[in-house]
C-alpha cells in the first residue's frame, strides 16, 4: 500500500491538503488496521491527495486526560502540536472519534488549530458531492444495518446524522436500536475504560449494548470508532453470533460496496 508521509511529501516540496490521522488503534490494532486500509483505498480510488505522519504520529493523549493524567496528556498534545504545526497542517481527517474530539476541541487551547473532520463526516461529504458512487447490486443493498453511536461522535460533538447518511447511501435497511442518537448507550470503552477491566457489576456494558443491537435483527452492526469496534465485536462473539452478524466500520462498508 503506497501511503505517503508528510516527511516524504515535504522533501519533494509538496504539501497535501489533508492529513490522515491514523491513531493508535488504526496503526496497531489488527482489526482496526483493516479500517485504516479501507479508508486509504477509498482515498486512493478518489485520487484524493493526503499524507500521514507515519512513525511521527503519537497518541493524542485522550486516554491519559480522561484517566486524570493531565501532565501526560499535555506532554503528548504539545509534542504533537509541534509536529503538526511544523508541517503546516491545516486539515485533519481521522477514523477515531477520540482522536477527533481531542484534536478538534482540546488542542486549540494548547496552540493547535486545525480543521478536524471525522471520517463519517468526510465520507458523507464525498457522497453528497457525488464523488463516491455506489455500484448497483452490492452486498449491503436492502440488508438490515444498525448504527451504534460513538459517544465521542454523538453526544460529545453532536454528530448523529453524517454516519446515518453514509449508511443510507448504501441503500440498506437502516434500523435503530432502542437507545440511539442522544440516548445512545456507550459501548463501555470510553473514558480510558478500554485500558482496564470494568469495575465490579452485574453485567459488562458491551454485553448490554450488543443485546440491544442483536434485538434489531440487523445482520451488520455499523460502527465508527475503534473502541466501539472492539467492544461490539467482542459482544457479538460472546453471544456466538459472529457467523450471522458482522461488526463493520463505515469506511469498510463503503469500500466493500465499491469492490475496493
Amino acid at each position: 500500500m503506497n501511503v505517503p508521509t508528510l516527511a516524504e511529501l515535504t522533501a519533494k516540496g509538496e504539501s497535501p491538503e489533508i492529513l490522515f490521522w491514523v491513531g493508535c488503534a488504526g496503526s496497531f490494532d489488527d482489526r482496526y488496521k483493516r479500517v485504516t486500509k479501507a479508508f486509504v483505498k477509498i482515498m486512493h480510488a478518489l485520487e484524493i491527495k493526503f499524507g500521514v505522519l507515519g512513525t511521527e504520529e503519537s497518541c493524542t493523549g485522550d486516554p491519559a486526560r480522561r484517566a486524570g493524567n493531565e501532565f501526560l496528556f499535555q506532554m503528548q498534545a504539545m509534542s504533537n502540536i509541534q509536529v503538526l504545526n511544523g508541517y503546516g497542517v491545516k486539515k485533519i481527517v481521522t477514523a477515531c472519534p477520540h482522536c477527533f474530539n481531542t484534536l478538534k476541541n482540546e488542542y486549540p487551547e494548547l496552540g493547535g488549530n486545525y480543521e478536524v473532520i471525522h471520517h463519517a463526516t468526510f465520507l458523507q461529504q464525498l457522497i453528497n458531492d457525488g464523488k463516491i458512487k455506489l455500484k448497483d447490486g452490492h452486498a449491503f443493498k436492502g440488508k438490515k444495518i444498525t448504527f451504534h453511536d460513538s459517544c465521542y461522535l454523538g453526544r460529545a460533538n453532536n454528530i448523529y446524522e453524517a454516519p446515518r447518511e453514509v449508511l443510507e447511501a448504501l441503500d440498506a435497511d437502516l434500523v435503530e436500536m432502542k437507545r440511539c442518537r442522544t440516548t445512545g448507550l456507550c459501548c463501555g470503552a470510553g473514558g480510558a475504560q478500554m485500558f482496564k477491566d470494568a469495575e465490579k457489576g452485574k453485567k459488562e456494558i458491551n454485553t448490554e449494548r450488543t443485546e440491544e443491537a442483536l434485538a434489531t435483527g440487523a445482520t451488520t452492526v455499523a460502527v465508527a470508532c475503534p473502541f466501539c469496534m472492539t467492544m461490539m465485536t467482542d459482544g457479538v462473539k460472546s453471544k456466538e453470533k459472529e457467523a450471522e452478524v458482522k461488526v463493520k466500520d463505515l469506511a469498510e462498508l463503503i469500500a466493500e460496496a465499491n469492490g475496493l
Partner: protein
C-alpha cells in the same frame, strides 16, 4: 390590628431565616474555585430561557414533563397571589387587588384555582409514581430514607397548600353571600365544589375556617420557602443560574489545566518569557469541595435528584457503584457539612474517600449520557474528571492497568505496548 402585627413578625422571622440560609449556601458555593466564563452571554441566556424557563429538556419524557409543567406554572403564577396575601396581611385588607382589577380579578382567581387543582392532581400522580409504581430511578441505592422522605414531603406539602387555597376560596364565597363586608369575587369554579362541606357552618365558624386557611396557606408557603433551602427542591431557584453558568463547549471537551500547561511548556523548553510570577499550584485535581469550581458546587445545589442521569449511565445500568446523581448529592452533602463546620475543611474528612470512592469514579466511561440527560444542565462528569486528576497526579493511585497505559504512552507514544517504530507497519502489510 393584632393579626397585622403577628403577620409582620411571622414574615420578618421567616425572611430572616431564609436570608440566613441563602447566605450560608452562597458561602458554601464560594468555597469553590472561581473559573473564567467562556463563550458569549447570549448563548447563556438562551439556555436559561429554553432549558430552565422553557423546560426544553424535561420534554424528553412527555408525561412527567406535562405534570411537572403544571406544578412549575402553578408555582410561578400562584405566587402572584402570595404577593396579595402579603399585602393583605400587612395592611389588614382583604383581597387587596380586587377593586383595582375589577372584572379581571375573578378571571385571575379562576385561573389560579385551575392551576391549584392541576398542581394538586400532578402531585398526587407523582406520589403514586414514586411510592406505588416505584419508578426504579426513585429507588436506586443513593435514594436512602432522607432523599425519599424529602421528595414525598414536598409533594404532600404542595397538596396541602393547594387544598388550603381552595378551602379559603370556598369559605370566602360563602361569607360573601352572608356578609357584604367580603369582597365579591363572583363564582370560583373549582372551590365551589368544596362549598357544600362548609355550607352548614354558622358565620363565626366560617370566618374561623377562612382565616385558618389563609394563615395556613401563607405560613405554609413561608415555611416551605425555608424548607426548600435545605431540600433537593432548591432546583426551583438554582436551575436558572445553573443553566446560565453551564458550559457551552462541546461536551467532549475536557477543560484545560493552565497550571499544567505552564509546567509542561517549561519542561519542553517552550516557555515564553514568564509574564506572571509563578503561582502556588495548589492541588492538582480535586480531593475536596474547595478544589472544585463554584459552578460544580452550584450544580450540586441545583440537583433535584430526579435520577435521569443515573438511569442513563452505562456503568450504573450494568450494576457498577457509580451513580452520577450520587456524585452530585455527595458534593452537596459535603458542602453542607463544611457549612456546618463553619467553613472549616480540616475535619479529617474529604469528598473523595469519605463520600465518593475511587471505585465509583473509575467506572465512568465519560460517555456524557448523564450530562445529556440532566434537565438543568448539571455536569457530573466534570467532577469525576477532577477527582480522577487528583488520584492520578497527587496520589499516583490510578488502577494498575491505567498506570501501565500511562507508561506505554510515555515510552511508546501509544496506550498499548507496541514499539513506536512499528507504527507505520500497517502500510507495509499486504492489503
Amino acid at each position: 390590628m393584632i393579626q397585622q402585627v403577628v403577620f409582620a413578625i411571622v414574615l420578618l422571622g421567616f425572611s430572616y431565616f431564609i436570608a440566613r440560609r441563602i447566605g450560608l449556601i452562597s458561602k458554601g458555593i464560594q468555597l469553590g474555585k472561581q473559573t473564567p466564563l467562556t463563550g458569549d452571554s447570549s448563548s447563556r441566556w438562551k439556555n436559561v430561557l429554553l432549558i430552565a424557563f422553557g423546560q426544553k429538556k424535561m420534554f424528553k419524557r412527555f408525561i412527567p414533563a406535562v405534570l411537572h409543567f403544571f406544578i412549575y406554572a402553578g408555582f410561578l403564577i400562584i405566587n402572584l397571589e402570595v404577593f396579595e396575601f402579603i399585602i393583605d396581611g400587612l395592611a389588614g385588607t382583604h383581597r387587596f387587588f380586587a377593586p383595582y382589577l375589577g372584572s379581571i380579578y375573578p378571571v385571575l382567581m379562576n385561573v389560579f384555582e385551575f392551576l391549584a387543582v392541576a398542581v394538586l392532581l400532578s402531585c398526587v400522580f407523582f406520589l403514586i409514581r414514586r411510592n406505588v409504581l416505584k419508578v426504579p430511578r426513585f429507588w436506586s441505592a443513593e435514594m436512602t430514607r432522607w432523599p425519599r422522605l424529602d421528595a414525598n414531603t414536598i409533594l404532600v406539602v404542595e397538596i396541602v397548600l393547594m387544598f388550603a387555597i381552595l378551602t379559603m376560596n370556598a369559605t370566602d364565597q360563602l361569607l360573601q353571600s352572608r356578609d357584604a363586608h367580603y369582597t365579591a369575587t363572583g363564582s370560583l369554579f373549582f372551590s365551589s365544589f368544596l362549598m357544600p362541606v362548609f355550607e352548614n357552618l354558622e358565620i363565626g365558624s366560617l370566618i374561623l375556617v377562612e382565616r385558618f386557611a389563609w394563615w395556613f396557606h401563607i405560613v405554609g408557603i413561608l415555611g416551605f420557602a425555608l424548607y426548600v433551602t435545605y431540600s433537593k427542591h432548591l432546583h426551583i431557584f438554582m436551575a436558572f443560574p445553573n443553566t446560565y453558568y453551564a458550559r457551552l463547549e462541546p461536551k467532549g471537551q475536557i477543560h484545560n489545566m493552565p497550571v499544567v500547561t505552564q509546567e509542561v511548556k517549561s519542561m519542553l523548553g517552550l516557555a515564553e518569557a514568564s509574564t506572571t510570577p509563578p503561582t502556588e499550584p495548589g492541588r492538582f485535581g480535586a480531593k475536596d469541595v474547595n478544589d472544585l469550581s463554584r459552578v460544580n458546587l452550584m450544580a450540586a445545589f441545583s440537583c433535584t435528584e430526579c435520577g435521569r442521569c443515573t438511569s442513563e449511565c452505562p456503568a450504573n445500568l450494568t450494576g457498577k457503584k457509580l451513580s452520577p446523581r450520587k456524585i452530585m448529592m455527595d458534593t452537596r452533602d459535603r458542602v453542607e457539612e463544611v457549612i456546618k463546620n463553619g467553613g472549616k475543611l480540616d475535619d479529617g474528612k474529604s469528598l473523595l474517600g469519605d463520600y465518593i470512592t475511587k471505585e465509583e469514579i473509575n467506572a465512568c466511561t465519560s460517555c456524557n449520557a448523564c450530562v445529556e440527560a440532566c434537565p438543568v444542565m448539571i455536569n457530573p462528569l466534570d467532577i469525576i474528571i477532577e477527582l480522577r486528576r487528583y488520584v492520578a497526579m497527587e496520589e499516583s493511585g490510578s488502577p494498575a492497568s491505567w498506570n501501565s497505559m500511562f507508561q506505554n504512552i510515555e515510552t511508546n507514544f501509544a496506550p498499548w505496548k507496541f514499539a513506536s517504530s512499528d507504527r507505520f507497519n500497517w502500510a507495509k502489510d499486504q492489503a
